[in-house]
Amino acid sequence: MPHTKNALSFTLHLADTALILAQRNGEWCAHGPILEQDIAITNITLDLIGQARNFYQYAARLHEANENAVTEDSLAYLRTEGQFKNLLICELPNGDWAQTILRQFFFSTFQMLLFEKMKQSNNTQWVAIAEKSIKETHYHVKWSSEWVIRLGDGTTESHDRITKALDTLWMYTGEFFIPASYEMIEVTALKNEWMNKVKEVFDEATLTIPENVFMQTGGKNGVHTENLGFVLTELQYLQRVFPGAEW
C-alpha cells in the first residue's frame, strides 16, 4: 500500500526532526547563559520530545500490521543515519546562543505553518498531534522571534554573532520547502508566508535576508551532514550496547 508507506515515511520524518532538534537543544540544559533561559530552552526541548514521541508512537502503529516489535524506542534508537529523515538544520551543532536561537526561529516558524496545514489533513492522527503541538510551537515562535530581535538589535557583538549564525544556517532553510516523494503536505506552498514572517522579524532585528544562496538538501531522504552520525552514536549508545534490555 503506497499510501501507508508514504504516511509512515512522512510521520518518521516529523518524528526524527523533532527528536534530533530536542537532542541538540538538550545539550543546553545546565549550560545556558542565565538560569531563566536555561529553563526556557529546556521547556522547548521537552515540547519537542513530546512531539517526537507522539509521531513515533503513531509510526509504530502504522508498522504494526507487519511487525510487532516496533515501538517508539526501536524507531528512535535502532535506525541508522541513512534511515533517519530529519531536516539537516536540526542536526547541526548548537554553536553559540545566537545560532541556537536563529535555528529555533527558522524551524519553529516553519513548523507552525506546517502544523496549520496538517490540521486540515484527513488523517485524524496527524490532526490530533498538530492541534496539540501547535500551541507549543506558537510559543516557540514568539520566544525565538523576540530573541532574534534582541540579539540583532542588541549590542555590536550580538549583532555580529547572529549575522554569523545567519551565514551558517541560511543554506539549510531551503530544505523546508523542497518536498520529498513521500511528503503528504504541500510544503512548497508554505514558502511565501515563511519568508514574510522572517522578513518581518528581521526588519525589527536589523538583519538582512541573504540572497542567491545555494541550498543544502538530503535530510528528508536520509542523506545527512557528518554531524548526524555523532548525534546518533550518543543517543543510541545504551540500546546498542545492551540489545533487548528494558530500561
Partner: protein, 315 residues
C-alpha cells in the same frame, strides 16, 4: 531599642514560631548564616544539574530522556527560587555566583562525584535526592520566611525525583545480569557519599548549635542521617540489592539501624576541593556564565534601547 533588647525580642519571636521576614530586624549573624546556607543550597542545585545533565543525551529511552530533562530543569528552578530568597537578605545573585566561581562559596560535595553509568541516574535520584528531601522537608519549617516558602515549593516539586530514581533502579534490578551489576555498582559508589551529605557529626559541627537555636535547622545532622539510613535500609530490600556496609544491622534495642563509620578524611578532602570532579564542575559553571555574558548584555542593551524609543514616541 538597644541591640540587647532587639536580640531578645528577636529570639522571642523565634521561640513563638513567628517567621522572620526580610524587613524585620535580625542579628547580623542570623542574616549571614541564612545567606550562607541558602546560597550554598542554591549553588548545590545548580552544580547538581551537571552530573545528571551528563546523561541527557544518552538516556536509554524517550520516556527516560523526558523524565531526566524535566528533573534537571526542576533543579534549575529550585536554584532560582533559592537565589531569589537569598537575594532578600541583600546580596545579588551575581555576587553569589561570583563567590561560587571564585571558590569562596561552597556547595554540596556530593556533586563532585562522577556519574559513570546510567544506573547512576537511578542512584542519584533515590539516594542523593532522598537524602536531600529529608533535609528539605525539615527546612519547610525553617524560621526565615522566604527560605521556608521556597522550600515548600521545592518539596512539592521534588517528590517525583526520588520516585523516578527508585523506579529506574527497580527496572535495572529486574533486568539482565549486566543491568543488575550496573545497579549494584551504582549503589556501592553513591551510598557513602550520600551519608556524608548530612554533614559532619553533631559533635564536630560548628554551625549546628546556633542554627538550632534560631530554628534555621530543626534537626541535627546525626538525627537526619539516622532517619535516612533507617529508610534506605528497608527500601533496598525491594531492589534485592545490598548496601556496601558490613556493619549495617538492625538494633532491636534502639529500634534503628547501626551502621559503619564514615570515611571523614574523604569527606573533608572533597569539601576542600580534592574530589574527583570539583574542578570540572566549577569550570563548567564558569564557562556557561562567561559564554552567556554577551547574551545577557545584548538583552539589557536592547531593553534600554526599546525604552528610550518608547519615551521618544511619547514625547
Amino acid at each position: 531599642m538597644e541591640i540587647y533588647n532587639l536580640e531578645k525580642a528577636f529570639q522571642e519571636k523565634i521561640d513563638k514560631e513567628i517567621k522572620i521576614e526580610p524587613k524585620d530586624w535580625m542579628p547580623e549573624a542570623y542574616r549571614k548564616t541564612n545567606l550562607r546556607q541558602i546560597s550554598q543550597h542554591a549553588h548545590s542545585e545548580i552544580v547538581g544539574m551537571l552530573p545528571e545533565g551528563n546523561w541527557i543525551s544518552r538516556a536509554p529511552s524517550l520516556k527516560r530522556k523526558a523524565i531526566l530533562i524535566a528533573k534537571v530543569q526542576d533543579e534549575a528552578g529550585h536554584g532560582l527560587y533559592l537565589y531569589s530568597s537569598a537575594e532578600t537578605l541583600g546580596t545579588s545573585r551575581e555576587q553569589m555566583i561570583d563567590d561560587l566561581h571564585s571558590g569562596k562559596a561552597k556547595y554540596s560535595s556530593i556533586f563532585n562525584y562522577p556519574t559513570l553509568t546510567w544506573a547512576d541516574m537511578g542512584a542519584v535520584g533515590w539516594l542523593v535526592d532522598g537524602a536531600a528531601i529529608l533535609n528539605q522537608v525539615m527546612l519547610c519549617r525553617t524560621s526565615y520566611g522566604p527560605y521556608a516558602r521556597a522550600m515548600v515549593r521545592i518539596c512539592k516539586e521534588e517528590s517525583f525525583h526520588q520516585r523516578q530514581g527508585f523506579d529506574a533502579l527497580l527496572v535495572l534490578s529486574k533486568g539482565t545480569e549486566e543491568q543488575k551489576a550496573m545497579c549494584q555498582d551504582a549503589i556501592n559508589r553513591w551510598w557513602w557519599p550520600s551519608l556524608m551529605m548530612f554533614g559532619p557529626k553533631d559533635s564536630e559541627s560548628t554551625n549546628s548549635d546556633q542554627s538550632m537555636k534560631w530554628k534555621i535547622k530543626r534537626k541535627t545532622n546525626d538525627e537526619l542521617r539516622q532517619n535516612f539510613v533507617d529508610m534506605i535500609a528497608e527500601q533496598i530490600k525491594l531492589l534485592g540489592m545490598t548496601l556496601p556496609d558490613p556493619d549495617l544491622k538492625w538494633n532491636e534495642a534502639k529500634k534503628q539501624y547501626d551502621f559503619g563509620e564514615i570515611n571523614w578524611d574523604e569527606f573533608w578532602n572533597v569539601v576542600k576541593g580534592n574530589g574527583p570532579c570539583n574542578k570540572q564542575r566549577i569550570a563548567a559553571r564558569r564557562k556557561a556564565h562567561e559564554e552567556g555574558e554577551w547574551v545577557r548584555a545584548a538583552a539589557l542593551a536592547y531593553a534600554e534601547k526599546k525604552q528610550l524609543r518608547t519615551k521618544a514616541k511619547v514625547a
